[in-house]
Symmetry: C2
Subunit: 110 residues, 2 copies
DNA sequence: CATTGATACAACCATACGGTTGTATCGCCG
DNA sequence: CGGCGATACAACCGTATGGTTGTATCAATG
């Protein structure tokens, strides 16, 4: 896990193939070759996608025999979630402030 | 709002400047020029960042006089959140299945 | 209606990204 | 240890991205 910051995480998620790989790693224990077989691109291309996910801290690889199983790293996903939650919280606060403002304005008008 | 899909949304969020712009649009009602003044890059560059956010459906622009106020579009953010929530749900299910598996194994060993 | 303020857009440049093919490493097995 | 299966890595190519400067649009104001 090199530098798993928000930039890398969101960039990694900004590709449909990579999001699909994340889903597959959540569902089962597939190696690089198995994952690659699902997509109509070269093995190396899928390998690169996995590397991007790994660099972002979204997946890890576990050696089993001569294969490497790709595993979800839920902490990376949670980091992204917490950031979006922060936005949502701020949004709620904003709406609340606006509601209060409208309420006080109505008081004046009353 | 052109094609606000997951690709665009995550790509838009994969840049620190753009995430900061989102935060500022959540905090107050700033125009393009005000937003641009916060960053050490050209006006046009910030304008482009805002355009990316707009294309992703994360912000909208509202004309007020000769200015344009940049506003958060919470629905875009919620789309990203719901995707990550889906991952989290799948993860929970996965952990649960593993727990059950371990439990049944222990039964056999008992 | 000419000017100024605020925003938009086009052209251009350097670098990053997604894909390819080819070669190298690594672990198992006969 | 030779060979094969599985993964990794390097070089290359076209296109997208992030930045710049310069020009154009558009709305308020004197």
């Amino acid at each position: 896990m090199a530098t798993p910051n928000a930039d890398h995480i969101f960039a990694a998620l900004a590709d449909a193939t990579r999001r699909d790989i994340v889903l597959r790693t959540l569902a089962g224990r597939e190696g690089v070759a198995e994952l690659a077989s699902h997509y109509s691109m070269s093995f190396a291309a899928v390998q690169k996608h996995i590397a991007v996910l790994e660099r972002a801290g979204l997946v890890t690889k576990e050696r089993t025999g001569r294969r490497k199983v790709v595993l979800t790293n839920i902490e990376g996903l949670n980091l992204a979630r917490s950031l979006l939650d922060q936005y949502e919280t701020l949004w709620r606060g904003r709406v609340e402030r606006m509601t209060n403002l409208i309420a006080s304005t109505e008081e004046i008008h009353a």
